[in-house]
């Protein structure tokens, strides 16, 4: 039955359902017993106990490394990195171990873990708590990369990630936790399938995570000028839904890729390059400048996605 939930509550519900159905699923990370830093684990330790919802030391390498060992020994761990910026302390464990084990052991070992690494700017948290590093992980063979933008998706995609059987870098956005929306817990979502959030004929905007809301706002500004933008939420960055993006771009003739991550070398560059190779449409990109995120509001705003700037980039593409 459909209910209104926050993005955080939707994830907690998904995990609760999955843990009830499969007793090999465990969750581990700092402060999980208190519900997690964003409330996305609220109530789970009370239901499933401290053996399955595990409070850990601040030991990112051990959290991720232990999760790899748990997975190799038959569990399905959900790993909480708190914010993606801290996952950098566990890069060997995710990149050299989790991502490689299945392949380099010749298929003997699977690593079905979901590594939750919230991305994005988190109001006034400055340079070490505000990064969007999805391109790093999308670059890495052996990892799936998921970036939910809505409560419904944070329910359905988390369950799909847990069912995938491979390591998933699951990137919630730090500023979406309180966003509410209708969630149908029975709705199954596959990984790798985009959602068209707004239909339009004049240009295609491909985006994900926090970029979806900003792009929809931009589409509203454009609509007032008679420009109809189609907004595609990729939902999964690896594998990404080329068919939906290329088909839309081919129809509108213009593709604008929008993400909060730094524009240089961002995953938008990959989408833009494939679209150019496959369709030859006109392409634009919106992303943050290649600067660390600043603390003061005017500095932080330089790196934030601004609907007005997205609309401006769309106009430039149409001109």
């Amino acid at each position: 039955m459909t209910q209104v939930l926050s993005y955080a509550q939707a994830a907690a519900l998904a995990l609760s359902e999955a843990m009830s159905a499969d007793d090999t699923i465990v969750a581990l990370g700092e402060d999980l017993g208190r519900g997690g830093v964003f409330g996305q684990y609220r109530g789970l330790q009370q239901v499933f106990g401290p053996q399955r919802v595990i409070d850990t030391p601040i030991s990112e390498a051990a959290i991720m490394g232990a999760a790899v060992g748990m997975a190799l020994a038959g569990l399905k761990p959900v790993v909480e990195m708190r914010v993606i910026d801290f996952a950098l302390c566990a890069m060997d464990e995710i990149v050299n171990q989790a991502a490689k084990n299945r392949f380099m052991f010749g298929g003997q070992g699977r690593v079905p873990l979901v590594a939750r690494m919230p991305i994005g700017i988190w109001g006034a948290s400055a340079a070490q708590h505000s990064q969007s590093l999805e391109a790093w992980f999308a670059h890495m063979p052996g990892l799936l990369v998921v970036t939910p933008a809505t409560p419904q998706d944070n329910h359905g995609l988390l369950k799909a990630a847990l069912a995938s059987g491979d390591p998933v870098v699951y990137m919630e956005h730090k500023e979406l936790w309180g966003q509410t929306g209708e969630v149908d817990p029975a709705l199954e979502l596959p990984l790798g399938r985009a959602a068209v959030r707004r239909a339009g004929r004049d240009l295609t905007i491909a985006t994900w995570s926090r970029g979806v809301g900003a792009s929809l706002e931009a589409a509203g500004l454009l609509a007032a000028e008679g420009v109809e933008a189609e907004v595609i939420d990729l939902r999964t960055l690896w594998p990404w839904d080329r068919e939906t993006v290329l088909q839309s771009a081919g129809r509108t003739g213009r593709l604008l890729v929008v993400h909060e991550a730094v524009r240089v070398g961002g995953f938008g560059a990959e989408i833009a390059a494939v679209a150019a190779e496959e369709t030859g449409v006109r392409i634009g990109r919106v992303g943050a400048p290649r600067v660390p995120v600043g603390y003061a509001q005017p500095l932080e705003n330089v790196s934030r996605l601004q609907p007005a700037r997205i609309a401006e980039a769309a106009r430039a593409l149409l001109g």
Binding site: V26, Q51, R52, T56, P57, S59, A61, A62, M64, G65, A66, A67, V68, G69, M70, A71, L72, A73, G74, L75, P77, D92, E93, N96, Q97, N101, R102, F103, M104, F105, G106, G107, Q108, G109, P141, G142, L143, L144, S164, G165, D166, L191, G192, W238, P239
Partner: protein, 340 residues
């Protein structure tokens, strides 16, 4: 299981050590010219064993003694110098040799080679190309065993260089905090790649560091298979009884270079000569003779090991290469087929 010190048991340990020695001697010979490093150039004709090959020659007693106390359902994590651990845990030597040769019927289908050798069928969860990386993995595997409520344990091998990496601290802390069934084994060959570990390590090193985290540890002569066997018996029993992690610090010596083509000319020849006299196989041989075993019987064990490895090597040379499509297999299930 026979008790430590028993002649039959010592013969079995000697045979395991001889098999490891024969395996690595054969792999070493097959690797010459395989990589350009350490002042050596790659030969025009590719070596049968390509790439870096890290030999544990001189360290065999540690693998043999510890693994003698493990059951098939116990798990093991290893290092880049992991042939001995893998073999002693029960992996098939032909499949192991095929893996070193990069063949389709290797333990890892030719996708891992020496540095990533694994045999999940015997609980060997993989060698690792990154120093200390196996430590948190071992802790996590032990965590899973504890949650499943079995009395299986994990043996976690690492070298002396690993104790200067963060995962050593994080992994031992984790294992102690959750009271996990892990036997940490520091196989201390006293050298980190080509640099002596001692001057690079602050304080008293491995055992004291473990004890500071309330992980009881025992220092043992890593070239004395009898001493190791007795220590492993005690520590494995404690770990299996649910008393939490233990650490065995085995002090040994790497007789070869960092990799098989490294002549290790940076070492004092007198030190190496002394180490050769302390070769664990010679010591085990002397221990067998002292217990009344005929020299011919000991030599027969070594000959049996060499014959087995020669046969594995012949099988590996004749084995097929992996098909190119294997490069695309076992990456991920979702997204399989999307390679660009």
């Amino acid at each position: 299981m026979t008790s430590p010190g028993d002649v039959t048991r010592l013969q079995a340990l000697y045979l395991t050590m001889a098999r490891i020695r024969a395996f690595e001697d054969a792999a070493e010979a097959a690797s010459q010219g395989g990589v350009q490093a350490f002042g050596q150039s790659a030969s025009a004709k590719p070596a049968l064993v390509r790439g870096p090959l890290h030999l544990s020659t001189g360290q065999e007693a540690v693998a043999a003694a510890v693994c003698a106390h493990l059951r098939r359902d116990d798990l093991l994590t290893s290092t880049h110098r992991g042939h001995g651990h893998t073999l002693a845990k029960g992996a098939d030597v032909t499949a192991m040799m095929c893996e070193l040769y990069g063949r389709a019927n290797g333990t890892n289908k030719g996708k891992g080679g020496s540095m990533h050798i694994a045999d999940f069928g015997v609980g060997m969860l993989g060698a690792n190309g990154v120093v200390a990386a196996g430590i948190p993995i071992a802790a996590g595997a032990a965590h899973a065993l504890k949650l499943r409520g079995t009395d299986a344990i994990v043996a976690c091998f690492f070298g002396d260089g690993a104790v200067n990496r963060g995962p050593f601290l994080e992994g031992l802390n984790w294992a102690r905090v959750y009271g996990l069934p892990v036997l940490f084994v520091c196989e201390d060959n006293r050298i980190s790649a080509t640099t002596p570990t001692g001057p690079m390590t602050a304080g008293a090193g491995t055992s004291v560091r473990a004890q500071s985290m309330d992980v009881p540890s025992e220092v043992v002569d890593g070239n004395d298979v009898l001493a190791l066997d007795a220590a492993a018996a005690r520590l494995v029993a404690e770990v299996r009884a649910g008393q939490g992690p233990r650490l065995l610090h085995a002090v040994t010596y790497r007789l070869k270079g960092h990799v098989s083509i490294d002549p290790a000319a940076y070492r004092d020849p007198a030190e190496v000569a002394r180490a050769r006299e302390a070769d664990p196989l010679l010591r085990a041989r002397a221990q067998l003779l002292a217990r009344g075993v005929e020299a011919a019987a000991v030599d027969a064990l070594a000959a049996r090991a060499r014959a087995e490895i020669a046969s594995a090597q012949a099988a590996a040379e004749a084995a097929p290469w992996p098909a190119e499509h294997e490069a695309y297999e076992d990456v991920t299930t979702v997204g399989a087929g999307v390679w660009q």
